[in-house]
């Protein structure tokens, strides 16, 4: 499934504890999204947003992992925006994540 956040196309959901972006892969901006509501009209809540480092990211060991929890009727997963090094620097990724956090106000922001 795909989701667009502020015009950026994210792909997911990936299971939090088994997903890793390695150093030899394209770096990412990530969004932790909770999907709730009826299956035919889902509601997506933005739980967290961040930028992966050039060394990669292992979500199971993320310092905020314990806060990525589902509420009743929700499932939580990781969505990734791939930001290849040829097009984006680490500073670009941080800036994008910052702008997304401002727009979606995690952990309670809802994607319209």
């Amino acid at each position: 499934m795909s989701l667009k956040l502020a015009g950026l196309l994210f792909t997911g959901p990936f299971a939090i504890d088994s997903t890793e972006v390695r150093a030899n892969q394209a770096p990412v901006v990530y969004a932790v999204i909770a999907k709730g509501g009826p299956s035919w009209a889902p509601v997506f809540r933005v739980v967290d947003i961040g930028a992966g480092s050039d060394q990669g990211v292992r979500f199971e060991q993320h310092p905020r992992r314990q806060h990525w929890t589902a509420e009743a009727g929700e499932s939580v997963g990781i969505y990734l925006f791939y930001a290849p090094r040829s097009e984006f620097t680490a500073a670009d990724r941080e800036r994008m994540a910052q702008e997304l956090r401002q727009k979606y106000d995690p952990p309670r922001g809802v994607i319209d």
Binding site: M1, T11, P38, S39, W40, A41, P42
Partner: protein, 321 residues
């Protein structure tokens, strides 16, 4: 009623206007590239009883399915109507004959151009000469065996494409029954496409007043058997049910579709986030739709295959008695 099947996700082309070329969706369906035989036959068996239309499209090139011809012939045998949307690159004499013999109702060649240079851009990865040869063969066989199949072409109305020239070439010169002119769609939240390449952005309907037709006439099913609310949700963010576990009838008349239809009929479709954000709703139409294409193409086919030929004059016929 029409069932739109994402029968295949892989493709042998990289068309720049395609939502699947411009999204992550193909990657997301790597575990389910082809609709399994069991899922397809369950859909065909249930919908064939009602003579429903199966639109074989979405995701990729349908003829790449390892059982494409066999499954389409099966669907015809159990009473379905079939509309096959294809880039036409994979037809040969054997599969063309099988589809025509089975009476596949409409075979649509997505052509998008009328010359090799434009074709190489808008149908990247495909060969113009192969397209023309396969289309001519299909038409010639259809006319020879007086098959009931309608053979049409389609083109997206986009910058760099002379749509009138495309129509003239494919209908008048090649002999297609009809040319479908498709609006340039972006699928909004699902893709990276933007509408700047459309050369006809005029809407068909006013979304403030008119309900979306798709939730009343189409059922979209992916290769996993999941039913999405409509053809806009090609990422499969919604799930109205799964045809492997439930009947199509139950899904079509279920709570999910009722929710969407009630909102749209009450003029409150935009209360639904997915619909409010849909840039393609305005390009749906209650009049200019697939049923109209079927009707026009059938009339053209009948004229061509009538015993007198389309250019012969019946002369004056005296009424008697």
């Amino acid at each position: 009623m029409m069932l739109v099947l994402s029968f295949v996700y892989p493709c042998n082309a990289l068309c720049p206007h395609c939502p699947y070329t411009n999204s992550n969706i193909r990657k997301e369906y790597r575990d389910a590239p082809y609709m399994p035989e069991g899922t397809f036959k369950k859909i065909a068996d249930e919908s064939g009883r009602y003579g429903a239309y199966l639109r074989i499209s979405g995701g990729g090139e349908p003829m790449l399915h390892p059982q494409a011809t066999e499954l389409l012939v099966y669907a015809k045998s159990v009473g379905c109507k079939i509309g096959l949307i294809t880039n036409g690159s994979l037809f040969d004499e054997a599969n063309s004959r099988a589809l025509l013999d089975a009476g596949v109702d409409m075979i649509e060649f997505s052509v998008d151009a009328c010359d090799p240079r434009t074709y190489a851009v808008v149908r990247k990865g495909l060969e113009w000469d192969v397209l023309v040869e396969n289309a001519r063969r299909m038409l010639s066989m259809r006319n020879e065996q007086r098959s009931s199949s309608k053979i049409v072409a389609s083109a997206v109305v986009q910058t760099g494409v002379d749509i009138d020239a495309v129509e003239k070439y494919w209908v008048r010169e090649i002999g297609m029954d009809y040319l479908i002119k498709r609006k340039f769609l972006t699928w909004g939240e699902n893709t990276t496409l933007d509408g700047s390449r459309s050369s006809d952005p005029a809407p068909y309907l006013n979304t403030d007043e008119v309900p979306c037709p798709f939730i009343f006439e189409r059922l979209n099913i992916d290769s996993r058997g999941n039913v999405m609310v409509c053809g806009y949700d090609i990422s499969g963010n919604t799930s109205m049910g799964n045809v492997n576990a439930e009947s199509i009838r139950d899904i079509w008349h279920g709570e999910g579709f009722a929710f969407y239809r009630d909102k749209h009929l009450a003029g409150r479709g935009k209360d639904i986030a997915l619909c409010a954000g849909c840039p393609d709703w305005k390009y749906r139409s209650w009049q200019h739709n697939y049923w109209k294409v079927v009707q026009n193409a059938e009339a053209a086919r009948e004229r061509k295959l009538s015993p007198l030929g389309e250019h012969e004059d019946l002369g004056t016929v005296e009424a008697t008695g």
